[in-house]
């Protein structure tokens, strides 16, 4: 039995049926899903969750679909790693990494939101799916659409990393690269959604799509042993993830699955695309859009759809936010790789760099549980770090040559 009741305008409260609509006709406010709490409570418990397969669908009660697990049956339930070596490097004693760089099947947090959106697309009878994307979402929509047998067209800004383009093309999605930035692509998709009966996962299916992001928070709670972290640092691009993780923490408490003090939540943005962090620092209620310019292309969104929600929730939680320069991002990608063996993309580098700053500034106390959200995989964005990494040493197949070469490298003096 589904708890999905319908949709409701977040601004004026007007009710709508659970269809592919996203804007209130009364006030143009955004629509969100309404779940029947009594239905959720009937079956949601630690025990029921733990009894289910290890995927995001183990939190099915709080996901707005009729048939859980139809799309993305193996998505979610990514590792939460105790990051002792990273913690030591940034001066923190209880540091954890939630690692969606190994989400199945396309190695980013988008493999959480897409299964929910495409489930609704199938339930609503769509045969074509689409999205506006900086790459990761396109990869995920393309892969899940392939498996669901849906026609797929994706819209990306011109100039994305090769791995991000290839990662959609291989699933035989039709790829349209738009001359412009993500915000322009997004606007274009809004206009296209008015003309075609296509399921744009992050436009007309957005009310359902965003709910999938809650599973990132639910998993953290479960993997910490049904306890809330004290601090969570999350990247902000369009602003879906952070409010939904906050909501998941709140849900876990409300439904009796976890206890703990409210979580302080921190937003991380790249300095070249930091409308939310700038508004936070300036004390504004609403962000001012910016024109993004950063190597962190997956989070280069200057007009984040849910940016104002992020602002509000970060403030209400007692958290904060920081931005990272491109150099700090690359340095943090390398730090995470060198300390924890996790290769993330610039979005993850941004989050690690910001966590490092917040710990250094004393904003995050060094002995309180800290979770850093890593949302994407570095193998897709090799351009970002290739220049910073040393090339292989080339030798002839001779022992002596190897030893002499190694001895010239700091740390290998003993090889000779």
């Amino acid at each position: 039995m589904t708890a999905l009741v319908g949709l409701k305008c977040r601004a004026c409260g007007a009710p709508y049926p659970a269809e592919a609509v996203y804007v209130c006709e009364q006030c143009l406010g955004p629509l969100g899903v309404v779940l029947d709490e009594a239905v959720v409570r009937k079956t949601l418990s630690r025990a029921s969750i733990e009894s289910r397969p290890r995927s995001l669908w183990r939190y099915r009660e709080v996901l707005p679909v009729l048939e859980p697990g139809r799309v993305g049956p193996t998505s979610g339930m990514t590792p939460l790693l105790r990051a002792e070596r990273l913690g030591r490097a940034i001066g923190h004693d209880d540091c954890w990494v939630k690692d969606d760089s190994v989400n199945h099947p396309t190695c980013s947090y988008k493999d959480r939101v897409v299964p929910v959106a495409l489930s609704r697309a199938l339930e609503l009878g769509f045969t074509t799916v689409s999205c506006a994307s900086t790459g990761n979402l396109a990869n995920s929509v393309s892969a899940h659409a392939a498996r669901a047998g849906l026609r797929c067209v994706i819209f990306i800004p011109d100039g994305l990393e090769r791995g991000k383009i290839l990662g959609s093309a291989v699933f035989r999605a039709t790829i349209v690269a738009v001359r412009g930035n993500y915000d322009q692509v997004n606007r274009l998709c809004t206009e296209l959604a008015e003309r075609h009966r296509w399921a744009f996962v992050n436009v007309n299916l957005r009310p359902y799509y965003v709910e999938g992001a809650k599973t990132f928070g639910w998993e953290i709670v479960e993997q910490l042993g049904w306890r809330l972290p004290r601090h969570a640092v999350l990247p902000t691009a369009g602003g879906t993830l952070l409010p939904k993780v906050a909501e998941a923490f709140e849900e876990a408490v409300r439904y009796g699955c976890a206890e703990g003090a409210p979580v302080r939540i921190y937003t991380a943005q790249a300095a070249g695309s930091a409308p939310v962090v700038r508004a936070l620092h300036a004390g504004l209620d609403r962000f001012e859009p910016v024109k993004p310019q950063t190597i962190a292309k997956s989070i280069a969104i200057g007009n984040p759809a849910d940016g104002n929600d992020v602002l509000r929730i970060v403030r209400a939680s007692g958290g904060w936010g920081e931005m990272a320069t491109d150099e700090e991002i690359v340095s943090a990608i390398r730090l995470l790789a060198e300390t924890e063996g996790i290769f993330t993309e610039p979005a993850g580098g941004t989050t690690v760099a910001v966590a490092r700053k917040l710990v250094a500034e004393g904003k995050i106390p060094k002995n309180e549980t800290l979770v850093i959200g890593v949302t994407g995989n570095g193998y897709k964005t090799q351009e970002a770090v290739v220049e910073a990494l040393p090339a292989p040493r080339v030798v002839n197949p001779k022992v002596r040559e190897v030893e002499e070469t190694l001895a010239g490298i700091p740390g290998w003096e003993d090889a000779k």
């Binding site: 409701k8 977040r10 601004a11 996203y22 804007v23 209130c24 006709e25 009364q26 006030c27 143009l28 406010g29 955004p30 629509l31 969100g32 899903v33 309404v34 915000d183 322009q184 997004n186 606007r187 809004t190 206009e191 008015e194 992050n202 436009v203 957005r206 009310p207 799509y209 965003v210 709910e211 602003g239 879906t240 409010p243 939904k244 906050a246 909501e247 923490f249 709140e250 408490v253 409300r254 409210p262 979580v263 939540i265 609403r286 001012e288 859009p289 024109k291 007009n303 759809a305 849910d306 104002n308 929600d309 929730i313 209400a316 939680s317």
Partner: protein, 98 residues
């Protein structure tokens, strides 16, 4: 030649189903006032009581977001195309104290 305003689907109940409306205006503020004169009730959908454009509504003049221009005071001239696009935002309805 007046300014052409593209109307998004949720507002077309106010424009008799028309997807674009022509108005005479010198600024974005004038555009909204002119729309209100010809299609009563539309201003309330687009603006807060203070007169500011609602947070959920994006205005574009020839493809540029007016927040990068001069907001309500952005000048418009004959032949310009104005687009009104609802912001696509997510779904936090009840979010407790977090």
């Amino acid at each position: 030649m007046p300014v052409k305003v593209r109307i998004p689907t949720p507002l077309r109940s106010l424009t008799g189903g028309k997807d674009s409306v022509a108005v005479a205006a010198k600024t974005v503020r004038d555009v909204i006032e002119a729309l209100e004169r010809s299609h009563q009730g539309i201003k309330g959908r687009l603006c807060e009581e203070s007169g500011q454009i609602r947070g959920f509504v994006n205005f574009f003049v020839n493809d540029e977001d007016v927040r990068f221009l001069n907001n309500l005071e952005t000048p418009v001239k004959d032949g310009d195309e104005i687009s009104i696009i609802p912001a696509i935002a997510g779904g936090v309805i009840a979010c407790g104290d977090y």
